[in-house]
Symmetry: C2
């Protein structure tokens, strides 16, 4: 005996989401059919709205509902600093620090030979076009500190340095609040290398 | 700086789901806006469909899309055995065992003075009506083995026994495949009590 077909269907759709296994999909579906119709409709509407109205900014390729996005058109931001990240979520993470006031460029991935992702699959051509059109003084590479993020940063360094653009990489080191003994050796040696005089 | 409004809205709606915290809601929303519109629409449609078409069976109060439900109308099932459970998910769990071929009755909760849930908030009146109309020989109490499930079972025993109805409780004991040393003392003493001659 199965769940009623519409409920089964909902479990299958929920189960397609990343990190949602069959048990969680079942729990969520059972919860949802027990809620007032208005609540479920609100979620369905939010899904459609977000899917339809969220686009990529044609300048920085961040997620936005207006093009160009608010970050690209904000006149208070510094055009001379350009921070390159892998994903839209990285822009929002950096914005939460309130420390960076330049512009962004979202690559939408990182170079990964294993997954068959090469430079042409990322927004690198668009980055080069921006750099040729805008007066950028420094490109900050804020790709992840993974093998793929590193490979992407190194690729961009080799591409941009010969063009005379100042390129920097965000720092490696101890996470704030992190215990020295629990930090892996690679991070710790990078933290030593990157030490600063006080 | 916030996420674009429609995306923010989606994160908020997803964050209302049980067990979905802000981080997961963010991850899911960012994943969804990156998927083809058709995929997101399929999920939205499944939500609406499940919400609209899933109703409670007027006989057993299980979730169904036809009333009375398939379990209530299946002529191969035994009308004389009635299994009482707390939630629809319990019916599906029991059905997966393929061991029970009687009918079900879903209470939609358990007695819990702390949460202010009394007998009148459960489908107990409806259970009594069924028992007065149908020739049930045995009521199997399959409420959870929690304080609330126990209280509900005891309440029903006191209610049904004087009416001359045979009432039983599902067995307590070791979970199959469970190691004796990891089972709590209460379960273990119940397992001893419930021992069977071989």
């Amino acid at each position: 005996m199965h769940y009623p077909r519409p409920l089964q269907q909902l479990m299958e759709e929920l189960g397609k989401l990343p990190g949602i296994g069959p048990k969680t999909a079942q729990r969520l579906a059972l919860y949802l059919v027990g809620r007032p119709a208005g609540e479920v409709q609100a979620l369905a509407r939010a899904l459609i709205e977000a899917s339809e109205k969220t686009i990529l900014c044609s300048r920085c390729f961040n997620l936005t509902d207006v093009d160009p996005c608010a970050l690209c058109t904000d006149p208070r931001r510094n055009d001379r600093l350009l921070c390159v990240v892998e994903q839209p979520r990285d822009v929002f993470a950096l914005e939460r620090t309130r420390e960076f006031h330049g512009r962004y460029h979202v690559l939408h991935g990182a170079i990964s030979p294993i997954e068959g992702i090469g430079p042409d699959d990322l927004r690198i051509k668009e980055l080069l076009r921006r750099l040729s059109e805008q007066p950028v003084e420094e490109v900050i590479l804020a790709t992840n500190s993974t093998v793929e993020g590193e490979a992407t940063a190194m690729y961009l360094v080799r591409l941009l340095k010969p063009a005379g653009i100042k390129v920097s990489r965000i720092a490696y080191g101890l996470p704030v609040g992190g215990d020295l003994e629990y930090v892996d050796e690679v991070t710790l040696s990078r933290a030593l290398e990157g030490r600063r005089p006080l």
